[in-house]
Amino acid sequence: MAVSESKAATPADLVTYARGRLLFRVIVDKAMGWVLLLAFVAVLFPLADMIYWISAKALPTFSVGTLTLDQVGTGGGLHSMIIGTFIILALSTTIAVGIGVLSGIYTAEFAPRRVAAAARVAGYLLAGVPAIVLGYFGFYLLVIYTGWDYNTLAGGITLGIFMVPFIYRATDLAFTNVPRDQREGALAMGASRFQYLRRVALPIAMPTMLSGIFLAMALGLGETAPLVLTVGWSNTIPQTLLQPTGYLTGAIWNFYDFPSTYGHFQTLAFQAAFLLIVIVIVLNVLIQFIAERYRRKLRGLLG
C-alpha cells in the first residue's frame, strides 16, 4: 500500500502545476477553438439565413404555374425567363467552352514558353475585368454597332466572354498537371501529339476541366450586369436569337423594387432567386461528384 500511496502523490503535483503556465495554455487552447468555431458560424449563418429567407418568401406561392406560365400583366410565372436563362447559358457555355478549352490546350501543350506566360497573364486580366465593363463593351459592340438592338445572342456572347477565363485557366492547369511520363510513354508508342492529347491527356485532364466548366456556368448563371446591358427584356420566349428575352437574374433586377402590394412581382423575384440558388447548388454538387469519381479512377497517378 505504501508504494501505491507514493505513486498517487505524483498526479497531485501535476494538478498544482496546471495552475501556472499550463492553465494559461489550456485557456488559450480552448479560446482558440471557440474563436474558430465562431468564424465558421459567421460564414455559415448568413448562408443558412439567406437560403431560409428566400425559401420562406418563395416557396409558399411556388406552384407548377411558376415554372410553366409566362409572366402576363400582374400574374403568371417564370417560364419564359427560365427558358431564356437556359438559352443564354447554352450559348455562352458553348462559346466559352470552345474558346476556353482550345486556348487552354494551346497554352499548356503547344505555345512556346514565353507565349504561354503572356497568355496566362492575359487570362488573369480578362478574369479581372468587371462584369459591368464587359456588359458595356457587349452593348456597344453587339447591340449598337451591329444595329441588332437588344438581343439574346448578344447576351450569350457577352456572358461567354465573361466565362472564358475560368474555363481557360482550368483547362491550362488540367493539361499542365498531366505527368510528363504520360506524354513520353504515349509518344514512344508512336502516338501523334493529337492522339496523345485525345487518348491519354484528355481523360486525365477531364475532371479539372469539367470542374472549371461547371464553375464558370455557376458564375455565369448568377451574372446580371453583362445581360442587363445586352439582352433587353421580354415576357415571352424569343422566336429568334436576335430578339430580347427574359432571364432569372433579370427577374430579380427588374422586379425587386415593385411594391409588395402591386401584383406578384416581388414574389416572382424571390422565386427567381430561389431557382438560381437551387441550380447553383446542383452544379456544385455535380462538381464534387465528378471530382470524387475521377479522383478514385486516377488514384496512384496524380498522387
Binding site: E184, G185, L187, G190, Q195, G300
Partner: protein, 264 residues
C-alpha cells in the same frame, strides 16, 4: 532477318545489324551531349549501355527512335540506320519508327485505363480490328509473362498493379505493335529485387525474337543480361565489345576503372 531457323544465333547476322549508328553527335545549344558515336546493334541480342550518371546513355538511347525530338533544343548529327533506312530521313514517319523501335522508361508509364486498353493502345492508334487487338493483347501479355497473373482482371485499372507488374505491362504494350527493337531505359531502377529478377528473366525470353538495348547504371545487371556492352563516358563511346570481354579484359584503362568500381 532470315535467321528464324536458328534461334540461338546470338552473334546475329554479321551482314545486317538491325541498327547502325555512324558519327552520332547530339548538341544542346553549344554543349555536346554525345560526340561522334559509332556502333551497331544486332538482332536477337541484348546490348547494354553502361556509364556513370550524365554520360549521355539516356540521350543516346532516345536518339534511336527519335524520342530526342520530343525534348526541345536538342540537335542530332550523324546517321542512324534501321535495317538500311536512315531514320532521320525526312521521308521516315517517326510514328512508324517508334512502333518498330519500342521504348520502356525508367518509371513505368502505364496510362490511366484498363490493363487491356493499355496493351491495346498502340494497336488502336493504327486502327487494328477488334479481333486482331484481342489476339495481340493476350499474346503480348503472355510474352511479357503477365498473362497468367492477370488474365482474370484484364479490365481492372492498370494503376492498381504493382510497380514490377506495371513495368512488365509497359513491355507488353511495346511488344503489341510488333517491334523489332526494344529500348529499355533503366527499366528496373524503380523496382525491388524480386521484380527486377522477373524483368531480367523476361529479357532472356525477349532476345529470342528481338534486339534488346538496355541502359543500366548497374554493372552487375549489364554483366548478367547482355551479350554486348557499350561503355560511355562524358558523351564518348569508350569501348564496345562482347560483354564477357569488356568486363574481364577491357582494352581501355577507363573501362577497367569503371567496371571494377573505381569511379561512377
Amino acid at each position: 532477318m532470315e535467321t528464324t531457323t536458328n534461334p540461338t544465333a546470338s552473334e546475329g547476322d554479321p551482314a545486317t545489324p538491325v541498327l547502325s549508328v555512324k558519327g552520332l553527335s547530339v548538341w544542346a545549344g553549344k554543349k555536346a551531349i554525345l560526340s561522334n558515336i559509332s556502333l551497331e546493334f544486332w538482332d536477337r541480342e541484348v546490348t547494354a549501355l553502361i556509364g556513370p550518371s550524365g554520360c549521355g546513355k539516356t540521350t543516346f538511347i532516345r536518339t534511336l527512335n527519335r524520342m530526342t525530338e520530343v525534348s526541345p533544343g536538342l540537335r542530332v548529327q550523324g546517321t542512324i540506320h534501321y535495317r538500311g533506312q536512315d531514320i532521320y530521313d525526312r521521308a521516315v514517319n517517326p510514328v512508324l519508327l517508334r512502333q518498330r523501335v519500342g521504348m520502356v522508361f525508367q518509371r513505368p508509364t502505364v496510362f490511366p485505363m484498363s490493363i487491356f486498353d493499355n496493351v491495346a493502345f498502340g494497336l488502336r492508334l493504327v486502327r487494328e480490328s477488334r479481333s486482331v487487338i484481342e489476339e495481340r493483347v493476350v499474346e503480348s501479355l503472355r510474352r511479357a509473362g503477365l498473362y497468367e497473373e492477370l488474365k482474370d482482371n484484364l479490365h481492372r485499372s492498370a494503376l492498381t498493379l504493382s510497380g514490377g507488374q506495371q513495368q512488365r505491362l509497359c513491355i507488353a504494350r511495346a511488344l503489341a505493335v510488333n517491334p523489332r527493337v526494344l529500348l529499355l531505359d533503366e527499366p528496373t531502377s524503380s523496382l525491388d529485387p524480386s521484380a527486377t529478377q522477373k524483368v531480367e528473366d523476361l529479357l532472356f525470353e525477349l532476345k529470342q525474337e528481338y534486339a534488346v538495348i538496355i541502359v543500366t547504371h548497374n554493372m552487375q545487371q549489364a554483366a548478367r543480361v547482355s551479350d554486348r556492352t557499350a561503355f560511355l563516358y562524358q558523351g564518348k563511346l569508350i569501348e564496345f565489345d562482347e560483354t564477357k570481354r569488356l568486363f574481364e579484359s577491357p582494352r581501355e584503362k577507363l573501362t577497367e576503372s569503371y567496371v571494377t568500381g573505381r569511379f561512377g
